[in-house]
Symmetry: C2
Subunit: 377 residues, 2 copies
């Protein structure tokens, strides 16, 4: 571990773990869910609210911020924490994933990737070294190596090539990171849906040595069963004393099942994006508030919630806001969804600590299956 960074597993229950990742800017209780702060903001919510809803750490996207407002500008303004008014830990991705999904005219070779901005068409380059330089300018607390993430299904030869390239970039990333006190660097396991490649990637990264290990290249088109199978293979191959981060995942069910396989950290746009599209995540599953059946429903999303957005507003009102395209609909559903995710994570942590994770997971799945109309009966 880099000096000033510490991870401690406080309790385990089967493969599930609960612990604390300590960084100078704050302690992250794991398993942790990181709300995604794409462009210096978690969309449709203030950082104060993100914090109040229980987040210890957020994720920032390197790709978005290198393009706008620009990493050097953020640095001149005091770094991403001061700029966006979030004083806790921030994990930044490498930018590679968004280059592949958003940028135009991208070209990848050994040195890195060149691309055109999706905003203004300007040419940019990202290498392992430049990615780490940008993440240092943003002054994020946890930094990610640049990798190549292949969408599934993919030809085994492509998966293998990308995994090997990612491994070579991992070495260059480690060198470029240096040893900034109190900042952490995570490597990323690739290897698609091929167990042998996953194991080779995990071994290679462990050999290089990182403060934490991410599992990338999952939730990119494969069935959930394949994702879980890859976690069954990969997680035990990673150092038990370092945090494990499953990138871009996922639904509440994905999270519960992945924690059972030893994952400690998650990020996903799902709760915030769904909130902006009229969909709520609750104890009783997903509720699509665009649906006309909510128009006269006086019930809140969840009367037992601690979150005002979920407890105090009728579904009829939320439906009205969503149908009317009112920003408040996106704001309230973003709050309600982040609250549900963080409440789920708190429940997960408590259940592991109590040695009752299997029971907790079964109860959570039962609630989702019951559906939101059950209460009416």
């Amino acid at each position: 571990m880099t000096a000033g960074v510490a991870f401690h597993v406080d309790a385990t229950d089967g493969a599930a773990r609960t612990g604390t990742l300590t960084l100078p800017r704050g302690v992250v209780r794991t398993p942790a869910f990181m709300p995604v702060g794409t462009a210096g903001t978690v969309k449709a919510i203030t950082m104060a609210e993100v914090r109040a809803l229980g987040a210890d750490i957020i994720l920032g996207n390197t790709y978005h911020q290198m393009l706008r407002p620009g990493a050097e500008r953020v640095a001149a303004l005091g770094g991403l924490h001061a700029f966006s008014r979030w004083d806790g830990p921030i994990l930044t991705d490498s930018g590679g994933f968004q280059v592949m999904s958003l940028a135009k005219l991208r070209k990848i070779d050994e040195s890195g990737v060149t691309f055109q901005s999706h905003i203004d068409g300007a040419k940019h380059a990202l290498s392992p070294e430049r990615s780490l330089e940008i993440q240092a300018l943003l002054d994020s607390d946890i930094r990610m190596q640049l990798d190549e993430c292949v969408a599934l299904p993919a030809a085994p030869a492509d998966v293998e090539r990308a995994m090997r390239l990612s491994l070579r970039w991992a070495e260059r990333s480690k060198a470029a990171f240096g040893k900034p006190e109190g900042r952490a660097l995570f490597g990323i396991v690739q290897g698609g849906d091929i167990p042998a490649l996953r194991l080779e990637s995990a071994a290679g990264l462990t050999e290089i040595g990182f403060d934490g290990y991410a599992v990338g290249g999952l939730a990119v088109g494969e069935p959930q069963a394949t994702m879980l199978e890859m976690l069954d293979v990969t997680a035990p191959a990673l150092p038990a004393e370092a945090p494990r981060y499953l990138m871009g995942v996922g639904t509440p069910e994905d999270i519960v099942l992945s924690v059972a396989r030893g994952i400690d950290m998650f990020d996903c746009v799902l709760p915030t994006r769904a909130g902006r599209h009229g969909v709520a995540y609750t104890r009783f599953g997903k509720i699509n508030l665009k649906n006309a059946r909510h128009a006269d429903d006086p019930r809140p999303l969840d009367e037992a919630s601690d979150c005002a957005a979920a407890r105090d507003y009728s579904r009829a009102y939320l439906h009205h806001l969503v149908k009317s395209g009112e920003m408040l609909g996106a704001m309230l559903l973003t709050q309600a969804n982040l609250d549900y995710y963080q409440t789920l994570m708190a429940g997960i942590r408590a259940a592991i600590a109590a040695g009752q994770y299997a029971e907790f997971a079964a109860a959570a799945r039962e609630g989702w299956a019951r559906g939101d109309l059950a209460e009416r009966g």
Copy 2:
């Protein structure tokens, strides 16, 4: 005054007054600014925040709510207060102004107005009686008569016809209102830019007798000087013991000048709409955050503000949010603008109470004239 409604002038300074309008759902400190809650929401902000920023009362639009979600539906859900989670007083307009500005195929005659919804083209009718019925279904605290508002410049004959029609509708509105305890009905002075018609309208309304008197048909295209001249004529002709409400006004300067002429209540979409379009209102005038000169500016909008949105975020960050189309930009600027407006109203009330309104108004105007770059020097 209707039983359960009371207005008391606590102090005067010239024609300016400060007082309290007492309603069962709360006390309104005047001069008051009412944020506009168009469709059951003040756009891009929660009601809890609207309250925290100093609003005693908000305005709800009858036109929007009769179309969506529908007045009968809101009534079935417990009325507009329960629906929108605002427990203080609400003033509803009559719907007439939006019919004229938003609806399609509108046709006005003695009985009322028929129109097509701008949302789905459905046919609707609004009469003085139906407007009061809708406002009763919403259960607003202050209800407005239906009137006909003519945009300026207009032919004197049109202005006169609309004023006379509005006066006849005022009588029908009074009859339709009934005497619901703790609810108030306001009449609306029309008469365009013609002093004699304004006086005739004011006298006619006073004869009918209302809980308060609005001045309508201003800020509809005429120069500011004309608006002020009409207030000079109209305000003294209205009963001193009732509140006077200038509809749809306005800029901070409009408000300061109108208070000096005896106006007690205001509503305007300006602070919220400007906030959604990247414009901030501050002690030092308007600041357009879309402008590139803010891109590297670490200063907040107003370091002396009590409002986090105005005090804690750099102009560079706000510029970034606005340029990126991030909802948080609209949210923060809406907060900052409503805070500035409510802080201005609090200053106005304190200055009148202290007998120093002229000095306050001069200082406010000096600040706006100084501009937001002055602090840099």
